[in-house]
């Protein structure tokens, strides 16, 4: 356990934006990405496994009979930590991804149920500790708002202000920890109608990019201002892939802050099977992030070895969070290597190979070029 690297990933987005779907897609796409490597990814622990199964069933249900019913996916009701394990096949090694899912409505103070302040604060701490922040974005709302009155409702529906506030808080924290890498990923979802790389006929990807940049310009500015070292990427993801908008409606709802409720009708593209696309960018970005982090930490460790040794305990006191995490992980790895190097039995040599292989896979992935949808901002 000690040598497992825990990667905390924060997600911030309103309800129904597709947080849960994005998380499950990341697992799915990562599996594809890691096939034919010595690594695998799987849910860590039974709750995660159950949750993922449930999601899959719900999705299948919503795609029943070549029709897509967005209501088929239930909203998240309680915060839930998805834990995914990138596993080199050695119990004490590997990378654990922790993604915190929560009911999206909670980011809006007014919509958060009574008495959940504490839970929400825990969510916020998790986000603060995450060196990676995912911002899922509802593309359909952006793209189908074809009239100015609907466009005025968009920030309310996307809760851009709340999302921006949280992102700013996150970025401030990143500034504190400016020696550790930071990664912000804008993930437009429900965007399959605007790309032609997954069965669509109409390429409106440029408009989508422009609209996202515009709608989230405040967020981007805050993050850049607060944490200039933060890497930002734009990575549109199809979590379903085989649907596309048939028509959209803006229903007047006086009680909603934006005044309109958005809904879309979908048709199912042949052959009607889920086809996740673009979520691999998240793992690739993580790997790039990780390799960079490792390099930073390696330099640090070397420096410390030259001066006087700093104990793990001292470091833990001084510098919490991800950086320590990596430091510990790398130390553990190094210790492990040293340990196996003197034990010349076969198991030890296999273990060493696994460690080196994992390094290699991560290195390879980090060098991978993003898909054409992705922009580095």
């Amino acid at each position: 356990m000690a040598n497992q690297l825990l990667y905390k990933i924060g997600v911030v987005g309103p309800n129904r934006v597709g947080k849960t779907s994005l998380i499950t897609s990341i697992l799915k796409d990562t599996q594809t990405l890691l096939s034919n490597t010595s690594l695998s990814i799987h849910p860590e622990g039974k709750p995660t496994k159950l949750r993922l199964d449930r999601h899959r069933k719900e999705l299948e249900g919503s795609l029943y009979a070549k029709e897509f019913n967005p209501g088929g996916l239930k909203g998240t009701e309680e915060p839930f930590k998805f834990e995914l394990m990138i596993d080199p096949g050695m119990p004490e090694m590997g990378i654990r991804l922790g993604l915190l899912d929560y009911p999206g409505g909670w980011i809006d103070d007014e919509r958060r149920p009574e008495g959940r302040e504490k839970d929400w604060n825990e969510c916020l701490s998790w986000i603060n500790e995450s060196s990676v922040l995912l911002v899922p974005i509802d593309s359909a709302v952006l793209m189908e708002a074809d009239q100015s009155r609907y466009q005025r409702a968009v920030p309310w529906i996307l809760t851009t202000t709340e999302v921006e506030d949280i992102a700013r808080m996150w970025a401030k924290e990143r500034k504190q920890r400016n020696r550790e890498p930071a990664l912000l990923i804008l993930c437009p979802l429900k965007c399959e109608s605007y790309f032609t790389d997954n069965g669509g006929q109409r390429d409106e990807s440029k408009e989508l990019f422009d609209k996202v940049s515009k709608a989230y310009s405040g967020l981007l500015k805050s993050v850049r201002d607060e944490a200039s070292h933060c890497k930002i990427i734009y990575a549109p993801v199809d979590t379903i892939g085989c649907v596309e908008i048939l028509s959209a409606k803006w229903k007047e709802e006086i009680n909603l802050p934006g005044g309109f409720e958005f809904s879309a009708n979908y048709l199912v593209r042949n052959p009607g099977k889920q086809n996740v696309l673009g979520a691999d960018a998240v793992l690739i970005a993580l790997c790039k992030h990780l390799v960079e982090a490792k390099q930073g930490v390696a330099v640090e460790i070397a420096r410390e070895h030259q001066s006087k040794a700093v104990t793990a305990k001292e470091r833990a006191k001084r510098d919490e969070g991800f950086f320590t995490n990596i430091w510990l992980w790398l130390n553990g790895e190094r210790d492990l290597r040293n340990k196996i190097a003197v034990m010349l039995d076969k198991k030890s040599r296999d273990d060493l190979k696994r460690v080196l292989d994992m390094d290699e896979v991560i290195n390879q992935l980090s060098k991978k070029v993003y898909g054409s949808r992705v922009h580095e901002l």
Binding site: Q147, T196, D197, L246, N265
Partner: protein, 750 residues
Amino acid sequence: MHNFAVNIKEILKKRHEHLPKVLQEIERWSTLDSEISLLEGVVQELRDHPRTPNQLKDGLRDFQTNELRKKIADALALLRVVEARFSRTTINIGVSGVARVGKSTLLQSISGLSDEQIPVGKGDPVTAVRSRIFHSKSNCRATLLLHSFESFRDLVLRPYAFSLGLNVVPDSLGAFRTWTYPQSEDDLPKEFQTHSNSTMLVRLLAMQKALPSYQGDLSGGERIVGFEELRPFVAYPLHEDEPRRYLAVRDVKIECPFPKVQVESLGIIDLPGLGEIAADADNYHLNGLQNEVDLVVLVKRPLEGMAFWKTEDGKTASLLDKARGFVKNRRDFVFVLINSGGADLELCASLRKSIRMLANDGEEGKNFLVLEADAADQVSVEENVINPLLAHLSMRLPVMDQDVLEGTKADYISLTSMILTSLKDIESVLTCVSTISPSTAEDLEHRGEELRKDLAASLGDLVVKLRSQARSSEETPEYLSAIDLAYEEILSWISNGFGVGLDAWQSKALRSMQAEHNSSPFAATELNRIRVEISNRYCSIDNFFNSRVNNLWSEIAAIFRKGIGELASADDGKKVLKQLRTLMNDASEKCPTLCAAIDDLLALRLEYRTHLHPYVRRELDRLNLQVMDTESGEYKDQIVVAVSEAGAEELYRRITALAEQAAYYTRRALIREAVIPALVLHAAAEQFDDSLIRSGDSLREFKRLARSYHDDIWPGVFNGIIDTNARFAKVIRAIRTIREQLGTLDVGEK
């Protein structure tokens, strides 16, 4: 022979082709004549009006059109001669010469007629009346053109009276009968007592005396007479007391089959002897000639005492020049014929020589071509007269016709410049003299400028408003609802089974699929039909567009109405603009630039098909059955269903979905382009503003508008002060009309 006949026909045909042009000119000059008389009227009105400034009155004092109108009348007369020439159906050869040279003999030879119809005689002159003789296969008749008393008085009596110094002529037959003429030379006014006048007086008295013999014939009109009764009508009597029915005859036309020269469309005209003593006889006959003949043969007979080129011959030739008119070469028009029949050879030779030396300046054929024949011999006449003349005509007649045309044209070109000079004279008077007092003129100018400034300001505001609309991201609610309406209708059309009903549609689909063994043909046809339907239904937003365009017109019309008051008072914008356009066009001083600006504005169209369809068309591509596979780049059918009832149901669902999607995305595209109508309107208003206000002639034309319509725009303000202007404008208009008419004259062309 035959060749000549054909040639003559062709020459005549070519000649007729000139006719429409000549008629057109006649029409134009007649119109010009009345326009000039109109100008005179309005100039007079202006000149005589008490409120017209004296300076202007003085300037116009000298203006008169009598001279011009006389010249136009002359030009018209000329054109009528040309018209007569070109509309004639025969080619006419005149036979002329002093008395007794054998003209009638020549005609007898040609026509085969006898003394009874074409009298010849010894001694005294015989032929009293001009006769025109035509070859005719079928007819054998003589048609007399008879005098009325009036024409007899004017053409016969008056010249005699005039020559004798008697100024009054009888005004009726009865008066003539009892008219008291001087009985002898001594009774004539002193300066008219000459020998020839005494002969003339004798003749006049004889005419009066013989009146009972011909008064019955002074009926006017035509009369056909038999050949056997013809002679008294065409020949002088042998004795003093015989009847003088020829006096009642103006002209006789004889038709008969010619024995030798059987050319249809050929006429020979026997002219009574020239240089005769009858008063004004030469002019009388020649006047007729100009209309009537294409060529004249001057007959000379080498008799003792006549066998040389006499002074009279020279005079006769000069008289014939009159008949020649615009034909350039005398050689073309006059031939000398030496009638050698029964003449002494020596005399012939001396006549020949005399003609060469005197008439042709010593050079054979220089001024006249000379023929020689025996007038009494049919064969000689055919070979030596008719054939050479026809050969000449077939060569030269087209040239002579051209001469005539050009001569006429040259005549009215000079007339045109005369008229233009006159017009310029008036114009310069008009421009030198301002009809309005300087202060009034200034006020009017100022008002014109202010009017333009006011319009400029309001139009500027409108343009700014439209610009902000075009820049606003806010869609026009009416536009949105127009689109929504179309969209909802399309959706309900779709949900009603694409206009045919769900069950009907599905069973039709099934039947088609069963017949074709697959679903594609039916699907393709239906998708096409749906695409067209959707597109057509979105056309209904043109109603909205129309109302926008009308709105713009109304707004601009309202701006005008603020400035020009009751001048254009129609109840809708478009009508007001049209009224304005007409007013500007009809203004006494035209405003072409303003007019064009309004024309452009009125031509503005805003249409779904033109302005929006191109942007939304690709959304309808969703309704192509074949779509490109984005990975493989290949086209494939996007819908394939089983040939079964379930398949038909599925087809319905799938096509419905595609149709709804296409309708939805077309709608979205239309809304995205919502700014286009505003852009178009803004551009149109800006363009209008530019061409109305900022074009180079704008200020000038606003001033013109002010001058032309001051009473309507500022009613009461200029009352009476400048009503002279109306009269002034009338003169300007009359001048312009004349100028336009002159401009259409075909003067440049050869």
